[in-house]
Symmetry: C2
Subunit: 340 residues, 2 copies
């Protein structure tokens, strides 16, 4: 009732301004982001000798549940999307709380499977779901709150990339873009095994925690971010945070995504850059003299580093794959606005 | 779709079992509550020298927004319900994150006032709202996540009450019970000034942080809990956690609630025990030899301690006010089930 009394007709909606502007407005009320890192994937607050590091990310059924997504995957993904930010910052999670909101007619068995999915995923990353709270609501929402501690100087920030650093990632892109097309646009690749693999990648993504912890503990990354809004958006966020540019000359597209792109005659690089999201690969910058050690360290924990390109001094994100340089557009998924 | 495929008709709903059983089921999946306190108002995890202490509590518009509740009060209450648990445990909040879920057509100005309410309330308790995340959803939900650190042995747990301890509280009861009757049952007290004061108490409650921190830092409380589900339920929770009983001989009813009860011919003690909730007063147990010091310490920070009764060895919660002893029933508000 309040909304209509005061703002007589002339209402500015959340969908009019989109997520980025909304966050900026809310931060200006809060007096800017808190903690020692400034605007970043986590909030880190220094105490006696360590920093307390916290992160929240929510799974909302109407916004985040892909068609056919099983309840175990809902729990799994609620954990992974929070762990992924800790992975990028090089912080080991200590535990997670979950604030659960559900309609009263929700099936208890359905919730139990969601929680089993959370518990299993948390265990695979070495921590426990420790508690939380429950409320009634109009739809299922799981707000995950991850917490941990880390020495302040070991936290890898979004800012910190220097001109000349190598830009690298921990895995391949494109699978989730294909999964979204299969699930949201009914564009099957005509191969059930391939389809199942692509869809499973979107249902059960993994966070690169081992890789992130290894890079941080050896002080090898100058900056890092996890890829949750698509590769193009992530590269822009990383470049912007360090006031540098990025020139990429390689986009590692997964073999499955290549097959899918070929079936539909799509450009696999376009697919990987602009149509994906929630791959949860890390995108890191590594000083050139540390590149070899960084590759070894990540391999020693069972991962890999794939070179994307270089940090450059001019502002912007660019791609040069066939001798021709083009800007990488800032487009991908944005809450409240959809694909922009 | 999943819900109906597997559980063919025979579905156990969340509302069939209620909040307490749901939480028990979820905890059994999690392997029990995490941290050093066991089941309690917060989760505390020991690290190097301190414990990291975390708490989440959500404000859900359809469940928690009282009729006429202004947006500033939504923000205020989201902070207070989280701070209150830290107050009971004697932990100073370090910062708060907020996971915001809103329908895309939500008025931005409405959200801004909510956040101003949060920021103002947080500042009054000495910390900042430091970040969070935003999602689209079918209704407004604010999941607050409070974090801090404390020396493990200074955390006041729910368990710890000993036979003979004095049971006390930090303020008066009954105001929110009256506010609920005014707002939800349209039972006005026929006095606009009184009505406004009672309703404001429900819109803008306060957490007893100063009192809780003072008691904890001087190691004066053997156990503590904040009163969020009504006084009767709170006394039962406190007694149960310590495997003791409580015999009360005093229920401090606020002067306003007494006036209201008189107007409707209600028993003010019944009102205060069973019909309230979210008063956010602390209920603490104090060893008898520390009672005088506890009163002084709480007064020195501008608060008060009101005696409710004693911890007794027989299990249960009892009241004796006119020479006749009666059990205090375990009834109050429960999510998913309503008043029980």
């Amino acid at each position: 009732m309040w909304r209509h009394n005061i703002y007589s007709g002339d209402v500015l909606k959340v969908s009019d301004i989109g997520e980025v502007k909304l966050i900026n407005k809310l931060f200006s009320i809060m007096g800017g982001p808190g903690g020692i890192t400034g605007f970043d994937d986590v909030v880190a607050v220094k105490t006696d000798r360590v920093a307390v590091v916290v992160k929240t990310d929510s799974f909302v059924e109407s916004a985040d549940r892909l068609p056919g997504m099983p309840p175990e995957a809902i729990g799994h993904k609620t954990v992974v999307m929070n762990v992924s930010d800790f992975a990028a910052k090089g912080v080991k999670p200590m535990g997670m709380l979950v604030s659960l909101a559900v309609p009263p007619d929700t099936d208890v068995g359905f919730l139990e499977i969601i929680y089993k999915g959370m518990v299993k995923a948390a265990a695979s990353y070495g921590f426990r779901v420790m508690g939380g709270d429950t409320s009634t609501s109009r739809e299922l929402i799981l707000a995950g709150f991850l917490f941990g501690v880390q020495k302040p100087d070991l936290i890898v920030q979004r800012r910190g990339a220097k001109t000349g650093d190598i830009v690298a990632t921990t895995g391949f892109f494109g699978d989730t873009a294909c999964a979204y097309m299969i699930l949201l646009k009914h564009m099957s690749p005509g191969d059930q095994v391939l389809e199942r693999r692509l869809v499973n990648h979107a249902y059960f993504p993994e966070a690169r925690l081992k890789e992130g912890l290894a890079l941080a503990s050896h002080r090898l990354a100058s900056a890092a971010i996890d890829c949750s809004d698509g590769l193009a958006v992530t590269l822009h966020q990383l470049a912007e945070a360090s006031c540098v540019g990025i020139l990429i000359d390689n986009v590692p597209v997964s073999p499955d995504a290549k097959k899918y792109a070929e079936y539909y005659g799509l450009d696999p690089v376009e697919l990987a850059l602009y149509r994906g999201g929630e791959e949860f690969e890390l995108v890191v910058t590594i000083p050139e003299e540390k590149w070899y050690e960084a590759c070894k360290v990540v391999e020693s924990v069972g991962g890999r580093l794939l070179r994307l390109g270089r940090v450059v001094s001019r502002i912007g994100v660019f791609i040069n794959m066939d001798g021709e340089e083009k800007p990488v557009k800032l487009k991908g998924w944005e809450h409240f606005k959809g694909w922009v």
